[in-house]
Amino acid sequence: MTSNRVWSVLGLVVMGYAVTLGTDDAFAAESSKATAPNAASLAGVIRIDGSSTVYPITEAVAEEFGQAYPRVRVTVGISGTGGGFKRFAAAETDISDASRPIKQPEAEVAKTNSVAYIEIPIAFDGLTIVVNKANTWCSDLTLDEIKKIFIAGSAVRSWKDIRPDWPDTPLKIYAPGTDSGTFDYFKEVVAGDQAAIRSDMSVSEDDNVLVRGVEGEKGGLGFFGCAYYFENKDKLKAVAVDAGKGPILPTHQTIEDGTYAPFSRPLFIYVNAKSADRPEVKAFVEYYLAHGPQLVEEVGYVKLPAEITARALKNFQQRRQGTQFLDDRGEKRHGPLAEVYR
């Protein structure tokens, strides 16, 4: 008797499981039937993974693409730029989202696995330096001042330490997590390869926390991707950056034409060259380049100049392989996107 009850519990669990399985199948069959009549004939699976910064753009493209090609199944992951390249180099994904160009060791792994790839820049992300709304004194910072604030061992404790005529308000810095591509990029610009960034900052992986931090601290200073600033313009004040050509504020205009230097970085997708020959992947990338610029702006990033997008399309159609951000000796190539990417 009692053992029967044990079995009945087990049976119940299995049954419940079967029910979810059954109904789900039925639902899926129904929905695919509903979209079948007006579907384009193209079918297949496109696997995308990589940077969570690029994710909103790829998601937007995948969403629109899904309307036009309902039978192509697109999945987009957020394993991070590094994690994405790891899978990409093992030929596990067709496309990799990246918030920085591929690094030499990653390119090396791809080479040993004989994975060839096409590099496509898709948007700009401007790094914005922000201060509290009540901060009336600081409207611009020179690159040297930024270095003075952020390099490890910095003696800057209050705003007075940056410029003598500024008030003696304590400086509180909010920065993205050290694993993020945003931090990587900031560190490269400010500290270069040798020096480190100071560690006595409030750090969070969630940029919304940084927004709230700077918003609530009169002496607060923070930096993050421009999308977070554009969304919170009413709560924060952006600081113009003076890199020798006068202070320049981050706007769509200045980021796109490259005058907001050096804090604007390009975002990329990397397409597996073998996958690019599959019609659904080819259609997806071409759709990406055609509709990307408009969708990029919609999700809060800055579109590339039309000329670079045209270059990217040409490179894709000619299946130009490899990266242009590493030279023949595997050294990193620096400079604005328009000059490096040909």
Binding site: T2, V9, V14, D25, S52, R73, T75, V76, D207
Partner: protein, 331 residues
């Protein structure tokens, strides 16, 4: 206890007054402790209440049928949780199917089949110690382990994209492949690793709570160990085991880290068709929404949390129903 010593050498009072004072002090301490306890309880309740209210207020307007049946979208007002909801149900149900039998089985072995040989007893102790320790391992570690063991299977059967062993084709509902790849089964088995220590330890506690006199009585009637477990101990322990399973499944459904390692997918418009299919889970989707710059997405995330809570509560309700059924029958 110094407060119980009636004589205070330095105090000039008579012992009697001293007694009354000591008693007063003791009762005061008693009251203070009670106050501290209830303060702790109320504080945690208040925090929970604040969090829940904030979430409900934020997410309520976005909640609706469309939210439950639509895939994610870049437009907050069109974003839905359907693939993640179904993905979570798939993974947690599969996880339960594996974790409960294995966990309860292990608990029965450890509690009801205690070996007599000293060497075997030592082995028993080692297993017990390891299970207790495993309960404290961060879930991301299990994610990495699951990646090697289930997703890639140490590379023994080729890569996940070109599996060397398959049953059926990817179109069939019973499709199976080795290695498992980044599908539902790999995710469920990884979550199983995360929750197994909880299941085992709580099942052990439940079995231990069954009085030994009952065991001796059954054995005295000539029953075998298996008969005793199947007809007496296990049914008596089911309510406790179900309580542990509730806790375990609640943890499984809320885990984001191992799922991020195993599946890593957030944008997906379809639901799993077989155990090897791609999937995403609700915690991952909520994590993505809450880290978006747009404030509207934070509201969508709050709506996602409400759905997650609702699913969790309905899972728990089911378990409580089963528990109650057994409790009343046994009495």
């Amino acid at each position: 206890m110094s407060t119980l010593t009636p004589v205070n050498a330095t105090a000039p009072q008579t012992p009697r007054v001293n007694d009354a004072r000591a008693a007063k002090k003791r009762f005061l301490k008693n009251r203070l402790f009670e106050l501290a306890c209830s303060l702790g309880a109320w504080a945690s309740l208040l925090i929970l209440l604040t969090l829940l209210t904030a979430t409900f207020v934020q997410g309520f307007e976005h909640l609706g049928w469309h939210f439950l049946v639509q895939p994610p979208s870049r437009r907050p007002d069109r974003a839905g949780i359907y693939p993640a909801l179904i993905g979570s149900i798939w993974v947690c149900a599969t996880c339960a199917v594996f974790a409960l039998p294995v966990g309860v089985g292990t608990a029965i072995l450890l509690e009801e089949y205690k070996p007599k040989h000293p060497a075997l007893r030592k082995l028993h102790d080692v297993i017990q110690l390891n299970i207790t320790n495993l309960a404290g391992v961060p879930s991301i570690v299990y994610g990495i382990l699951g990646m090697t063991v289930f997703v890639q299977m140490f590379g023994l059967f080729g890569s996940a994209l070109e599996p060397q062993f398959t049953i059926g084709t990817p179109g069939d509902w019973y499709y199976l492949q080795l290695p498992f790849g980044r599908g539902v089964l790999a995710g469920a088995l990884t979550l199983m690793l995360v929750v197994l220590p909880i299941v085992i330890i709580s099942a052990q506690e439940a079995l231990r709570a069954v009085p030994n006199s009952l065991r001796n009585g059954v054995l005295a009637l000539g029953a075998t160990n298996w008969q005793m477990v199947a007809k007496m101990t296990l049914p008596a322990a089911i309510p406790g085991i179900m309580t542990g399973s509730i806790l375990a499944m609640s943890r499984a459904i809320g885990e984001a880290a191992p799922i991020l390692v195993i599946a890593g997918i957030v944008y997906i418009t379809f639901t799993p068709q077989h155990l090897m299919d791609d999937f995403t889970a609700m915690p991952l989707q909520i994590y993505d929404w809450s880290s978006r710059p747009q404030d509207e997405f934070h509201r969508v995330a709050a709506a996602g949390i409400i759905v997650l809570l609702a699913l969790l509560l309905s899972f728990n309700a089911l378990a409580i129903l089963i528990r109650q059924k057994f409790q009343t029958r046994l009495q």
